[in-house]
Structures are given as C-alpha cells and as structure tokens.
Amino acid sequence: MAEQARTAPAARPLSPHLQIYRWPVTMATSIAHRMTGLALVAGTLVLAWWLLALAAGPQYYDAFSATARHPVGQLILFGFVWSLSFHLLNGIRHLAWDVGIGFDVHIANRTGIAAIALSLLLAIAVFAYAYAVQGLQL
C-alpha cells in the first residue's frame, strides 16, 4: 500500500486547459487570427497558381479554371476569401490595440463580433458578385 502510494502520481490540482474555458469572443478571434494566417500561407499558392496559369496560356488557365469552378475548388476559394477578409479586419483590431485603442472588454468583444460578421459578409459579397456578374455556377 505504502509502496503504491509512492509510485502513483499525486492528484495535484492541474492548471485548466483550453477545453475547460468558456470561449470568450476575444479568445476565439485570437485563435482564428493565427489559423486564418496559416490558411493564407496555402492561399499564396492558389494566388501563384492563378497568376502563373494566366501567364502560361489558355490551356493552363482552363485547368486552373476547371479546378476553381469545381464545388470543392469553390469551397477552398471561399475559405481563402473569408480567411483574408477576417485576417484583414481582425488585423486592424490588433493595430488599434498596439496604439492602446479598443482595449475595454466590452469594446473588444463588440469589435470581435464585428470582425467575424463583416468578414463573412465581405466573403459572401465577393461570391455573390462572382455568381451574379461573372456567371460563376455551382
């Protein structure tokens, strides 16, 4: 018994980890900022592919176009557009904080919700334009 008590790990209190916390808006936007930033690394490859395909000639552009028009391609593109929109709007919050503006909790919460909502609206607007004007179809 005494032997066992010595080898078993003591049940000391542990510091709570991510899944314990209620997700405040500011935590969600902070995590989303890093995730969208990393997603945009992949986004630069999409942009490079688009530009190279444009430069290389029609048959290369057709290959890019076909991939981009595919439902999965459109989903990836939407993710790219939203990631950029969110990282842009949330980045403005970060720059404001750097000069000491908008730090109050209720203001930071409100601008956080605004960044999420406006970035979604912006991404939807870009695709609405693509469907309505450029004739993109699902």
Partner: protein, 124 residues
C-alpha cells in the same frame, strides 16, 4: 545602475537577440497591407469566375499590375514574419526550428519570384 554589460547596452537587442525589429516590421507590413488587401478583395477578387481575357486584361493595366506586385511582396514578407512566430511558439528543438525557419524563408522567395515573373509575363 544597470545589470547589462556595456556590449549588451550598445547593441540594445534584449533577450530575443533581435530587439524590436521583428515586431516593427510585422506592424509596418500590416499597415501597408490594409489598403493593398482591401484593393485585392474588392478589385482582384471580383475576377473569380471571370474568363481568361477579362482577368489578363485586368492585370495588364499598369496600376493593377503594380498593386498586385506590392500586395504579393508585402503579403509574403508579413507571412514569413508571422509564420516565424508560429514556429518559435510550437517547435522547441533547435534543429527542426532552424530547418523550418529556413524553409519558411525559401517558400516566400520561391512563391514571390513565381508571382512576379507571372505578373511581368501577363503585363508585357
């Protein structure tokens, strides 16, 4: 009275060995990217679903070609700074950390060279 050595005080770089250079460049590129990313979303991204001629004609315009070049350069610079922080946060072994940091820089240079080459080709 200070605990810093004279050399450390002259260099002024602190515990990170790089002073505030990284922080500052991250903010400057972020500032530059506000108008450039707004242009990119509201102008270049309206070409989603457009045919090749429309897209090529758009990028053949000097203003658009220059804006796209600036966006690519500023975005890739900002990206390497950001990814470096992510690497430093999660990768603690010196070897993989340096390897990833080098890869991070090579990635940006290769993607940047490809984008700028393509832009010159399209606009020429």
């Amino acid at each position: 009275m200070t605990v810093q050595t004279p050399l450390a005080r002259v260099q002024g770089l602190g515990a990170a060995h790089s002073g505030t250079g990284h922080f500052w460049r991250q903010r400057i590129t972020a500032l530059a990217l506000i108008p450039l990313a707004i242009w990119f979303v509201c102008s270049a991204l309206t070409l989603i679903g457009a045919d090749r001629d429309t897209a090529a004609a758009f990028l053949a315009q000097p203003v658009n070609a220059i804006a796209m070049a600036l966006f690519v350069i500023a975005a890739l610079y900002h990206m390497t700074l950001g990814v470096q922080v992510v690497i430093e946060d999660y990768v603690h072994d010196e070897g993989p950390k340096i390897a990833l940091a080098v890869l991070n820089n090579f990635f940006a240079w290769i993607v940047g060279a490809a984008c700028l080459f393509a832009l010159v080709r399209i606009a020429a």
